[in-house]
């Protein structure tokens, strides 16, 4: 029993990162109607940024977020100006098709670039308190992963406030709902796209940082994270960042439960089953509008 509870707890802690990874993808898809399948590679780049920031500056791993977030924001601006800004000029149907092509191309390029620059080795960030564990009622909670979950939640909360209160946050939500109506109220829709893409990339960077601290990074983790994020976006639906985070937690727990019930190899299967079932039963997702 306590073994199962321990596994579910670890699933929950991992699920927070799924939620954070999905939030950026959900924001970009919801606002730009562009499916960025290179989102996992952006997470991977964020992980390497954190790795080198910590290795070069010797600061606390979690403090590296203070640098990785703005760096990823800049990366997002660059990618929008260089690539995705052209995709959003097409009508919505063409956008999804073109973004898939560009996204896969970008994913392959970034993967190859990462292997060239940093080799295919797995890397992780060693923290002085890496082995610390909190014992609560017979459960062992790894401190690093608990802090990661708390930070992921804080970032999602911050994003929620940003979209709810900030003038441009409201403009981003308006653009997501109806971009033509947004134009009629004087919103520069292209700028809303740019901001949403940059924020989405910054979230990917943050997710990559936490993944590298709690787990590890290598050039090939991108596809797996894109897949997880995609499952969570379908599971949770568009329109609510808190809902996306909860969706991530649910996926983490569901994976852990199925690994416990059917054995480790079935861990990945349950996510795909959830993906299909949600698409059939509730296509707009659990919390979608």
């Amino acid at each position: 029993m306590s073994v199962l509870a321990q596994q579910l707890l670890l699933g929950l802690l991992l699920g927070g990162l799924y939620g954070l990874a999905a939030a950026g993808l959900s924001l970009v898809f919801g606002v730009l109607k562009v499916l960025d399948v290179a989102h996992g590679e952006l997470i991977m780049l964020g992980g390497y940024m954190a790795f080198f920031v910590v290795a070069l500056l010797g600061i606390d791993p979690f403090a590296s977020l203070l640098l990785v977030l703005p760096l990823s924001l800049l990366l997002g601006l660059t990618l929008y100006w260089g690539l995705f800004g052209f995709v959003v000029r097409a009508d919505e149907e063409t956008r999804v098709k073109n973004s898939l092509l560009i996204g896969f191309g970008l994913a392959l390029a970034l993967h190859a670039l990462a292997v060239q620059l940093w080799t295919a080795d797995e890397r992780s960030i060693v923290t002085p308190y890496g082995g610390a564990v909190l014992s609560v009622g017979g459960l062992s909670i790894p401190v690093v992963r608990l802090v990661s979950l708390a930070l992921a939640f804080a970032l999602i909360g911050g994003l929620h406030l940003l979209l709810a209160r900030w003038r441009w946050g409201k403009a981003i939500r308006a653009t997501a709902e109806d971009w033509q109506a947004a134009l009629l109220t004087g919103i520069d829709v292209r700028r809303a796209y740019l901001l949403a893409f940059a924020i989405g990339t910054a979230l990917a960077g943050a997710a990559g940082t936490l993944v590298t601290i709690g787990y590890s990074v290598s050039p090939s983790i991108g596809l797996e994270w894109t897949l997880k994020a995609l499952i969570v976006v379908v599971l949770a639906g568009l329109g609510s960042m808190i809902g996306t985070f909860v969706g991530g937690l649910l996926l983490g727990v569901a994976e852990a439960a199925s690994a416990a019930a059917f054995g480790g190899p079935y861990r990945e299967v349950v996510g795909l089953v959830i993906f299909v079932v949600v698409l059939v039963v509730r296509p707009r997702g659990l919390f979608g509008r």
Partner: protein
Amino acid sequence: MLEIRDLDAAYGDIRVLSGVTLSVGAGEIVALLGPNGAGKSTLLNAVAGLLRPRAGSIRFDGHDLAAVSPHLIVEHGLALVPEGRRLFGGMTVEDNLELGAFAPRARATQAAGLERVFALFPDLRDRRRQLVRALSGGQQQMVAVGRALMTNPRLLMLDEPSLGIAPRLVRSIMESLAEINRSGVAVFLVEQNVQAALGLAHRGYVLESGRVARHGSAAELLGDPHVRRAYLGPLAVRE
């Protein structure tokens, strides 16, 4: 104020407007009438910048609107209440209205604009924190007109504001348009409800198959046998 000359517009290969010339003067209420598919909405969308015309010119106070980015057209004092209202349903009444004042010129007068909208539609004041999608059709139309007013327009264009709204509310919407007009805003109105539209308007144009088929004062159009037969029905002819 608004001068449209020889306007051609098309969706893909389908030509919707051919050589449309019309104008709206400062302080006027002008109705644009015509059957479904005549191109009325297309005309308004072209003026608002949602659709690029094939040929012809659209000038507003002498500015060529073809050279203006769509999101900057409201800055010239031109607002559209689109067909079907197109509100941000997941947001509150207040958020919708505030987004109407997003552009710099309107933002400077946002507080006064909000008071103006609430004075015009007192119902909205109590519902300012409600989600728009929870409101009735009539209330949503008030929000839609309110959002456009928040842009502080000199010309307000409306695409079928009476669509899907209870008849009692249609009259109150028309009355509020008259009131908006009295405050110095020109109104350009596309409407299927010809009786209501010509009751309000000073002048009107009839658009058929993408061309201006008739134009004149509201009284002239109401007395025109073709308009009566085509748009007011047999009852009106017998009257």
